[in-house]
């Protein structure tokens, strides 16, 4: 694998996380628990789509075949999407949305803090812009985790269920393969081993402050690095790609 191929895959993976999470969050528009929160979640969604745009455009540049960010976002088959399984899990209820936001934003905070030091200048620049946004996403997720965990018994139970349900998708956040290995040698990719330990630490702190239990060790689901997803992604894509696929000649 050339560095170029590895960098393309690495960037697409990051871009897909932002793309699909932005999509998931955008589904919540007009469905918030209170109008203020509706607007707050939309802000997070907009940050994600903006980041997806930057990363997918960069992936297109690396590939060098004259594609646009939209070509990459809208015109791949399911097997060629590489977002983490956690990202595509549905907004089953607000607790699931918040638990997903918590797991993802704490991870992204640690990850992008490191990526800011990447020797790839474009990735480093995207990271330093995005880290400010992530800090806010993380604060928002932590605050709601505390309110739900330590709120009413119903909210506590829902939040615990959500944490438990999503736990099996968190292991994948720290998987590394030959793409990571190669780019780490070049000082481009982030080493996920120290991040894994820190993530567990931070999540434990938040969950216990929220009077929630840390889920027990369990089998961790895997597959997204090879494009093997849960059934959720196909439905997301069939909506997202509808117009692009129905009218392939159209410019929007």
């Amino acid at each position: 694998m050339t560095t170029k191929d590895a960098a393309y895959t690495y960037t697409i993976r990051l871009g897909d996380d932002a793309l699909i999470l932005g999509h998931r969050l955008s589904e919540l528009c007009s469905r918030g628990p209170i109008l203020e929160e509706d607007l707050a979640l939309t802000n997070v969604a907009l940050d994600m789509i903006g980041r997806a745009q930057a990363l997918l455009k960069y992936a297109a540049d690396i590939e060098g075949k004259g594609k646009t960010d939209d070509d990459i976002a809208y015109r791949r088959a399911e097997i060629n999407y590489y977002n983490h399984l956690l990202i595509e899990q549905p907004n089953a209820d607000f607790a699931h949305t918040i638990a997903r936001q918590l797991f993802v934003s704490v991870f992204e905070f640690l990850f992008y803090t490191e990526l800011e030091k990447s020797r790839d200048e474009t990735l480093a620049a995207i990271a330093s812009k995005t880290i400010k946004e992530i800090k806010y996403h993380m604060q928002h997720a932590i605050d709601w985790t505390l309110r739900l965990g330590d709120g009413t018994s119903e909210s506590h139970n829902r939040m615990q269920t959500a944490v438990n349900d999503l736990w099996m998708y968190t292991g994948e956040l720290f998987e590394m393969d030959e793409v990571d290995a190669q780019l780490m040698r070049d000082g481009i990719a982030v080493d996920l081993i120290p991040i894994k330990a820190q993530w567990h630490n931070d999540i434990k702190t938040v969950l216990s402050k929220a009077t929630l239990l840390i889920p027990e060790d369990t089998y961790m689901q895997t597959g997204s690095k090879k494009g093997i997803h849960t059934e959720n992604l196909g439905h997301i894509l069939s909506e997202m790609q509808y117009l692009q696929r129905a009218y392939p000649d159209a410019v929007w």
């Binding site: 793309l19 932005g22 999509h23 955008s26 589904e27 528009c29 007009s30 469905r31 918030g32 628990p33 209170i34 109008l35 203020e36 929160e37 509706d38 607007l39 939309t42 802000n43 969604a45 907009l46 789509i49 903006g50 997806a52 745009q53 997918l56 960010d69 939209d70 976002a73 809208y74 209820d93 607000f94 505390l146 309110r147 739900l148 330590d150 709120g151 009413t152 119903e154 909210s155 829902r158 997301i236 909506e239 997202m240 509808y242 117009l243 692009q244 009218y247 000649d249 159209a250 410019v251 929007w252």
Partner: protein, 314 residues
């Protein structure tokens, strides 16, 4: 009662062009009219999130998705500013929402029409926001201070809404045959309802006279509608959209367009609840309001547990 608190004094303040603030004396009719109008306006912004929200997950490009999300978010913000303005009149948001869900309070009938194809997103921004802006610009000078301030903020934010809608329509009209057909279809369905947004003719409008006397409303329904027609028809023609009206014409002397009679039966039928989406819109609002109850309760419970700590650290 103090003499200066009489309705005459109030009316002279209005006539002098003064703004009324929430703690000032106001006749009960003025307060009631404002609550009805502001809440109807607020509910329209909030319910209006639904038809456009219907296309967020299918927006055909990242740019389109960002624009649409930001636009709908603005509308939610407008609802929020207006709820706040209504709250200064002594009605709570809880009551306002109850009135919406029970059907006691109305919202603009335009949102009881469905958004069926992507060009509908263009038509909504261009025609529906376009019609709303004409009304809102006029309302910046409304006599009630909190309402006027909310409208100033809203108008600033609205400026991109109509443009993004027209941009979509333009792109579709310059696009493939399919896209042009979608655009014309959207035009056909949204044109007449958008003209109805201004309300019945002045001669048939039940609330107009008080509202004009109190300077809540600064221009009449027909005046505002005419402004909208005059600026919109040339925009349609510029990009090749056909106005779905066989008999409209430009009066060269006045510079105003004359259109065919509006189908007021349809207007009253939709207001009465028989539009394609009335039930769906309110049901959606109720569903997510109810699903949010446990979350709001959790926030309150958490605050009660931690309120002491918070005061100490505040």
């Amino acid at each position: 009662m103090h003499n200066e608190h009489s309705d005459t004094h109030f009316q002279s303040r209005i006539d002098n062009g003064e703004h009324i603030e929430s703690k000032d004396y106001m006749p009960e009719g003025y307060r009631k009219h404002l609550i009805r109008q502001i809440s109807q306006h607020a509910h329209s912004e909030v319910i209006g999130m639904q038809p456009e929200g219907n296309w967020i997950t299918r927006a055909p490009s990242l740019r389109a998705k960002q624009i649409l999300l930001a636009k709908i978010q603005d509308e939610g913000g407008h609802g929020l500013y207006l709820y706040s303005a209504a709250e200064t009149l002594g009605i709570s948001r809880v009551e306002l929402i109850e009135n919406l869900q029970s059907g006691k309070a109305k919202y603009s009938s335009i949102f009881n029409y469905p958004a069926l194809n992507w060009a509908d997103i263009g038509a909504i921004g261009w025609l529906v926001d376009g019609a709303a802006i004409v009304n809102q610009v006029s309302l910046q000078r409304t006599s009630y201070g909190p309402y006027s301030r909310a409208m100033v903020r809203i108008c600033k934010e609205e400026s991109f809404h109509q443009r993004q809608g027209y941009e979509i329509m333009t792109k579709m009209m310059r696009g493939t045959k399919d896209q042009q057909a979608m655009a014309q279809d959207a035009m056909n369905r949204w044109w007449w309802p958008s003209l109805m947004m201004f309300g019945p003719h002045d001669t048939d409008s039940p609330h107009s006279s008080d509202a004009v006397k109190w300077k809540i409303k600064r221009e009449t329904n027909d005046e505002l509608r005419q402004k909208f027609i005059d600026k919109t028809i040339p925009q349609a023609e510029l990009i090749g959209l056909i106005i779905p009206d066989n008999n409209f014409s430009l009066d060269e002397k006045t510079g105003h367009y004359k259109i065919s009679p509006i189908n007021w039966d349809e207007f009253y039928r939709v207001i009465a609840g028989h539009g394609p989406c009335n039930k769906q819109r309110v049901d959606h609002h109720i569903k997510f309001h109810e699903e949010g109850a446990w979350i709001r309760e959790a926030a309150v419970a958490y605050k009660q547990k931690h309120v002491k700590k918070e005061l100490e650290t505040a």
